[in-house]
Symmetry: C2
Subunit: 303 residues, 2 copies
DNA sequence: GCATCAAACAAAGA
DNA sequence: CTCTTTGTTTGATG
């Protein structure tokens, strides 16, 4: 155990030692959030644009929203037009305005593979064959989805249709965040994790967002003043931006298998017992509902 | 305090002494349930059939579902056709297929008054004048409603439209009850009180229903076997029938002010410390969620 | 550990 | 429990 004393630490000085312990424990089950999905969607856009699906193998029918036969028939022949992120979903706009929607649930991979590679049907839930004979292998660690959505039906999708604000969109202003929070009385952490309010934040990035905003996860939403909301807004945009900048979180990969490096830049998340980058106080772990929180007890005062 | 020992008591021997303590404590805030509403609706049918509303005074606009002006304009001139009970609501089918719906919330009165009587506007929420110049005074102790529903819109009413099964209807069979309970995992008392499953049961009659079925209020719904369900079905029909037979519960009145006498026939409800009518064991009180339960600890074994 | 939904449960408000 | 709304907890889901 590292004893820190009262020395003041700043920046990301302790990033590398954190990265090691974090990735060794959690890399097996990466749980993709908005930045990871942005990185994946961008790589898919680069790799799959102008490609066409010529065949599909479904090894886990439960991850579909349609019967296998209908899914296969409908998706075959469709070309990829544009691929983007929405909340924790990758949305691929296909020919004829269909949407192929990927949700990695509690973790998984969407990987491009060469024509001659042979997928393990026990591991790969869905395999798409493209017209240049390359393949997309979709693997889910746990509870992922590959949904094919009819033209114009995205708003009626049981999950996608209920997603809240995109936190990196231009219209997600500090004023709007303030209005959204007004009158609510729950915990700020629960609010940030609720996809119907703000879409894309999960239990990894929320830690650093709250730390940047100097907010304790148990703070009640209706106790936030204008300054709190301003710091929160800045924290959301900054931390999610950093996640994208570093290619996504620990264990996440783009479609070619390039690994994210945000683990090296985590401030408090998953750094129990290590020093706060701002003040050196040892980071503590606490339970908030069913999730774990990581906080600096000095920077994030309990309510 | 009465000490009972091991003597066996049966029937409703102790009804009268219970009736006194019960009515003295609770009569001020009666909370009407299905039997009380049946009795009220029958008396209204008798008293109001073929009468016509010629005027209305609204002293508490919040109990309406429409602005006062629109409510008054729409209801004036309508004649009563048929009046019936649905859950804890009195539904009066009016001319032109409009429905005038009364909900007494946590208690109240719908009373017929002579032409020359003068209502206290502070007490009577709504007063209807009929074409024979007699009056209907609607009083609410707390949170009652007088709603006017357009033809064909009853199913879209935010409360009435969501009501569950009518427990005295012919199609409420033991088989249906079994199907309704299948797969649920909550407490049987919570289930019985939830209006979206079965409509009309409240915290008075539910006590005797569970006692008749020999079920503890904390029993999990999914632990009931066929015999439990059969006793429960019988208990529901029997107890609600008794409530009607005795003219409704304590503090309830029909439209002429005749008082209900079911208080004298309560088996365990609100009889803490008195003997169980079946075995003589002293009745106990316990909290189930936010409500109070009254049980015989010998007849209704804890789960 | 935590994604998401549904049900159950609790508190507050009208 | 009178009923709704909100939020929290728990259980189930490949």
């Amino acid at each position: 155990m590292i004893v820190i004393g009262s020395v003041l630490y700043v920046g990301t000085k302790y990033g590398s030692e954190l990265a090691h312990s974090y990735t060794s424990e959690l890399a097996r089950v990466p749980m993709p959030e908005l930045p990871d999905i942005v990185v994946l969607a961008r790589s898919m856009q680069e790799a799959l644009r102008n490609q066409r699906i010529v065949g599909v193998a479904v090894n886990q029918p439960k991850c579909l929203n349609l019967p296998v036969a209908k899914f296969s028939r409908s998706v075959s022949g469709l070309g990829f037009r544009h691929i983007k992120q929405r909340g924790k979903w990758v949305l691929a706009e296909m020919d004829k305005d269909w949407t192929l929607a990927f949700n990695q649930g509690m973790g998984g991979e969407v990987q491009l593979h060469k024509p001659d590679e042979v997928p393990d049907p026990k591991r790969e839930r869905v395999v798409f064959r493209l017209d240049d004979q390359s393949q997309i292998w979709v693997h889910h660690w746990w509870y992922g989805h590959v949904h094919l959505v009819e033209p114009g039906k995205l708003g009626a999708h049981p999950q996608i249709g209920k997603l809240g604000a995109e936190p990196l969109a231009e219209d997600f202003t500090v004023e709007r965040l303030g209005e959204m929070l007004a009158g609510r009385r729950g915990r700020i952490k629960s609010y940030l994790l609720d996809q119907k309010f703000i879409a894309g934040i999960g239990n990894v990035y929320v830690q650093d967002i709250l730390w940047h905003a100097r907010l304790h996860p148990l703070r009640k939403t209706n106790t936030l003043n204008a300054s709190d909301v301003a710091r929160l807004h800045k924290g959301i945009r900054h931390v999610l931006g950093e996640g994208i900048r570093w290619g996504g979180g620990p264990g996440e990969q783009d479609v070619w298998g390039n690994k994210g490096r945000y683990a090296e830049h985590l401030q408090v998340g998953y750094r129990t017992g290590k020093p706060c980058p701002a003040c050196g106080t040892l980071i503590e772990e606490l339970r908030v509902g069913s999730t774990t929180s990581y906080i600096c007890p000095k920077c994030q005062i309990a309510p």
